[in-house]
Symmetry: none
Subunit: 225 residues, 2 copies
Amino acid sequence: MNKAEILIIDDEPQIRKLLEITLESNGYKVVQAETGKEGVIQAASHPPELILLDIGLPDRSGHEVLKELRQWYNKSIIILSVQNNESDIVTALDNGATDYLSKPFRTAELLARMRSAIRRNQTPNNTTVVDAGDLQINLAARTVKKNNELLKLTSTEFNLISLFACNEGRVLTHRFILKEIWGVGYQTETQYLRVFVGSLRKKIEDNPNNPLHIVTESGVGYRFQ
Amino acid sequence: MNKAEILIIDDEPQIRKLLEITLESNGYKVVQAETGKEGVIQAASHPPELILLDIGLPDRSGHEVLKELRQWYNKSIIILSVQNNESDIVTALDNGATDYLSKPFRTAELLARMRSAIRRNQTPNNTTVVDAGDLQINLAARTVKKNNELLKLTSTEFNLISLFACNEGRVLTHRFILKEIWGVGYQTETQYLRVFVGSLRKKIEDNPNNPLHIVTESGVGYRFQ
DNA sequence: TATTGAATTTATAAAATCTTTACACAGAGC
DNA sequence: GCTCTGTGTAAAGATTTTATAAATTCAATA
């Protein structure tokens, strides 16, 4: 596997140096930018796997850089913020930041969050259309096509399949699915799930008795593939 | 790379001498302690990469030292025990020992187990996918691949293999496994374990009659590698 | 208000999994 | 050789989990 490339946008040289050493010794390839403008150019010319962005610059240019990046860059952006500056954090998350870290941070935590963010890149959470064999799920338009034919799904059915699509290949527990689709009060209503998985299968599977897309993991939950 | 530091806690001078010679000639730095108390102090003042602890002292102080060390020391502890004292071994493994060796032992085996134990120190188990030769165990997705093919495991089978995977190279006692998978009330239901280890082997081993991944440590438990 | 489509329940058959029993086999000790 | 202990395997229940149809409730709307 190739080294994942990380872009650091921060005006403080000592932070950049620290990050450079930490990340390179953990097998990442590091690219640096000193100003927001430079960062955007770097990101555009050579899109990295992940961007670490210092948000709390005095002139608030960090926020503008984030917005500008988010117009086209859909991989993870982790923001760095001085401690206790919650308004910066909230604004940044609203503007599409993936995660945040308060300075000073522990490297173990930074690395863990980076791994998590990069993992999310790989499962197409940011793309608007998920491809799964004969199925195409358009998250933005809320449409599902099977062999290029538009399927007619109800709202709950669509919510369910889009949750599956965003977590392709991994087992989702009943509780998790119920929490995500119906809300925290419904985590034990496993039967709802059965009914809706049943009707989804009728629509998306070639043979609903032998489902290939929504596989049941008995005693645990379901897996979409 | 620096020499890894090993702490030996054993009251028998001739054993300590033997270990000292063996280990130093194999590139380890050796620190010795004659009593349990001294051992704990040594470990605390200068945490070693690995501890070799004689468990079978007449006054059972070895067990107490182990428990005391485990309150804060989380690297590997290999215990030494006189042959056939299985109850000592089982107790020690349940108390968090990493591995065990019966005296008299062959130096090649000692060195091999030390290497394995030290290797496990270096990769802390915060990874979500464990690689074991032809097997890949994805803890987050709850999937297991053998030669890149997805295996179909039941929920309990997966729980079992993931427990094994998180403790690669380490002997797990029957009691420990049963406690982790089935709960505290099941620590004596060894037969459950036999059945499930059997069905796991059928799925993951090339030749279930000669298992290479799940090895049985007779009278003690199992080891995954 | 009557209609319609969707969501929620209920009921039940079927499938999958877990538990338990039975028995065979191997090695250690006598 | 025999017995005892620990182990592995198969298979028969027992139990849990799942799938499906169908009934009911609910909400929107004509």
